[in-house]
Structure formats: C-alpha cells, structure tokens
Symmetry: C2
Amino acid sequence: MPRYKAVKLELVRVLSSGEISADDPLPTEKQLAARHKVSVGTIRRAMDELVAEHVVVRQQGRGTFLAPFSPERLLNRFWPVFRRGGSREIPIVQTLRFEEAQADAEVAVALGIVEGERILRIRNLLLIDGAPVLMDDVRVSRAMFPGLSEERFVARENTMYGFYGSEFGISVIRVVDHLHAVAADADAARAFRIPAGSALLESVRVAYTFGDRPVEQRRTLIHTKVYEYRNVIGGELRTG
Amino acid sequence: MPRYKAVKLELVRVLSSGEISADDPLPTEKQLAARHKVSVGTIRRAMDELVAEHVVVRQQGRGTFLAPFSPERLLNRFWPVFRRGGSREIPIVQTLRFEEAQADAEVAVALGIVEGERILRIRNLLLIDGAPVLMDDVRVSRAMFPGLSEERFVARENTMYGFYGSEFGISVIRVVDHLHAVAADADAARAFRIPAGSALLESVRVAYTFGDRPVEQRRTLIHTKVYEYRNVIGGELRTG
DNA sequence: TTCGATTTGTTCGTATGTATT
DNA sequence: TAATACATACGAACAAATCGA
C-alpha cells in the first residue's frame, strides 16, 4: 500500500474517533509530515482525496477542518428534493411520532444490529410552502444515540444529519437510496391530502458513517406532483 | 486561473474535438509538458482531475486514453437500475419505434435547439429475464447524429451511450435524472402487463457531453415491483 | 525468455504565491 | 506588519507495469 493511502487511513481513523472537535483544525501539513515521517507532498496527496470525498475542508491561511455540519452543506449534499424544474427549497419539519421500539429483521440487517435490539423510531412530516411534500420514517439504533430524547430532538436547530454530527459526533458521509414507485395507503393519502392509491415515490435510505457503519434507516414517501428527486451522475465535471 | 486549470481546459478541448481516437493514447506527460511549457507535475495535476471525472483513464506503462465506451463501464456508470436488494442485471432491448419528428418546446429547451428542428425519436422496451421492466422514449437532435438509421441503430453491439461514442465520437460524461412517481397510462399498462393506474417510476433524463452540450432527452418508465433505481451519494469514499 | 526503452505511479524536496490571523 | 497555513509550480529520483526487440 502506498504511504499516502496509509496516512489517509490513519487520518480517517482519527477523524472518526470523535477526538477532533468540529471547530478546531487538524495538525498542519508540516506537523503531520513530521509525525508520519513522510514529506509534505505525501500529506497533501492524502488530504486531496479527503477533500474530494467531502470528509475535510481546507482553507488557505486557516487550516484543515472536519467537514462542517452546517444545514447549508448537508442539504446541498444529501437532500436531492427540488421543486420541479426549479431549485432546492427548505422544508418545515413536523415530528409526528418519536418512540422506542425493537428492531425487526429488516431494520436489524440495515443497521447491523441484532433483531429485537432497541431502536428509536421517528416519523416526520415535511412541508414546503405549507403543503405536505414528504413523510419520513427514521430508525436508528438506541445504543448509538445515548441520551437522545424527543425534547432534544425537536429542539435541534439543524438538519437531522447536522444534529447527529454536532450532538453525537457522528458524521454521515454516504447514503444509499433505493427508489420505488408505490401506491398511497390510507395513512399517506390522508397526510398528503390525495386519493388513496395515488402514485408516490418511495425512498428507502441507509446512511453510513466512517468505516461503512450504518447510522440510520429511513423510509421516505415523496409526493412528486410539484417536487421531484433529482440525481446528477458525473456532476464533478465543470469544464466549460 | 492556475496553469493546471488552463492545461486541463485545453486537454478537454482536444478530447471533445473528436480528433483523438478511442484506441490510441494521448501524448505522454513529457510531451504535454514540453508543448504547454509547464512541468510534468502540472500536467499530472490536470490529468488527476480528468481521471477523477472519468474523462480519461491512465495505465502505467501504456499511456493515457479517452475513457472507453465499453458496455461494462457505461452500465456501471449510467445505469442505476438493480434488482431489489440485488445486483445489476443486463437488459434485452427491443426497439419499438424509430422515427423522425420535430422538437416541441420542452424537447427544444432540453436539447438546446430551436422548436420545430428535426429530431429522432426512439422508443425501446427493456426486458430482464423476459419480463418488461423499462420503457424508454429517447429524443436526440437529428443534426447531431448524421447518417444514423434504424438499421445501424438496431445493429449496434453496444449500449446506446457506447454507440454514441464509438460511431459519432460523442462522449456522454454527465446525466441529470428527474424522478417522479406516475400512474400507468394505457400504453404503459399494456407494455408492463399491469393494471392502468398502477404506480410507476418516471425518470426524465438529459445526458450531456463536454462543454455542457446536451446529447439526448430521455423519458423512462420503470416498473419497480422487482427492480429499483439505486442512488449512492458519497460513493467515492472507500476508507475501511 | 530476457532485456531495455517507455510510460505512468509514488515520494521527496524546494520555492513562491495568496489568504488568514 | 509579521507569522502561519494552504495553493501552486518546478524538478528529480526511483518503482512498477507494459511492450517490443
């Protein structure tokens, strides 16, 4: 394995340990080079990959920081819902349910826990311009979020992933969405004020943190009459 | 603008001109460095970005090549349809219609042409394991594909994007999918052998080549009973 | 098969520029 | 202003893969 890969792995290990607060910088290039006994160029090579993967951000003159948990960045990265033909809009979240439960077989597999283990189940309704557009059903391992209560959850001033990060030191770095079209059941029909049987977009998502560790499983129903799920493949290229 | 960016732009310009055949390598680092009067390291910096963007591939000892039009690579990159909970499967394509038409307002905007301009309209049914899973409606500018006939199209031994590349020198490098849930109309119901009104996943895609030039607009209906559209955000990170 | 030339991959070190504190 | 930290650029050396003589 090349040295820059080894350095990168070690950096990720440190970042995922939660020892680095979101606000203070990592050691400088020179310090890291000395510590790992490699040249500054090798540190840069490792850092360049971490930047490309949105794990860290670097600022000239300031330093290198863990990618921030700001709503702006997280929405931009993990919120693929847009007004049809238009831009992203910020939803208002209503928490409908917040309860403890036990993991069934499917959730247990998704979260990498054992069946019957305690989980939290959170249901949210998301409104844009007063109209219900999304309905969320989130399941997380109870053990991964000690001390999380409904009060703290609804009092958060951040996105859910930002909340995971700032309050529990858990960085969501990757999500996998499985998309299907489904017919609205009675619950969904009522929530979206549409006839039962209407077509809805269903997203079953698993979010991961470092080391491929699952953080949450989330089932989302999206009313795509006015909004849509937008996916860009190859969005990196910006060569006029 | 940094010099490596300028070099990169120039490289993209050359690659998009179609002068580089898919099989022969670009000039070597040393040659490019001499030609652009920069160091080899600067050439590498530009190349690294092009590799990250899947525009070129590099092989130690061989050289640098335009990203190949192989079905393997293109399916892996631009085909997000998987068996539910399973892996990607290769569909069989039936071309149902191949005809000339005129661009309506929506297509004209998507393809960056003027309303009424001649287009090709291609409808395909895609089957996996004998079952119809997708229905495609593809629209491309007639002028962009001179000499394209139904015979050549159905005789192709490649994916459509591979065909664009190998026969017309057009590299698809980015696609934007707009996903909605819709109710099956009579046409779709018949094709998929499902009741009219069933929920289907609709993808409206625009594919782009270099310089943000649109290549095709494609409306796809997906029967997500057994298959699904899968989207990974942050798939770059592979740090155990 | 072996060998040598070619080409990219990795690592090092240095110098200079630019943004931040 | 001065010190700090990242950004850009250059050059050099060696390693590893490829290919043809």
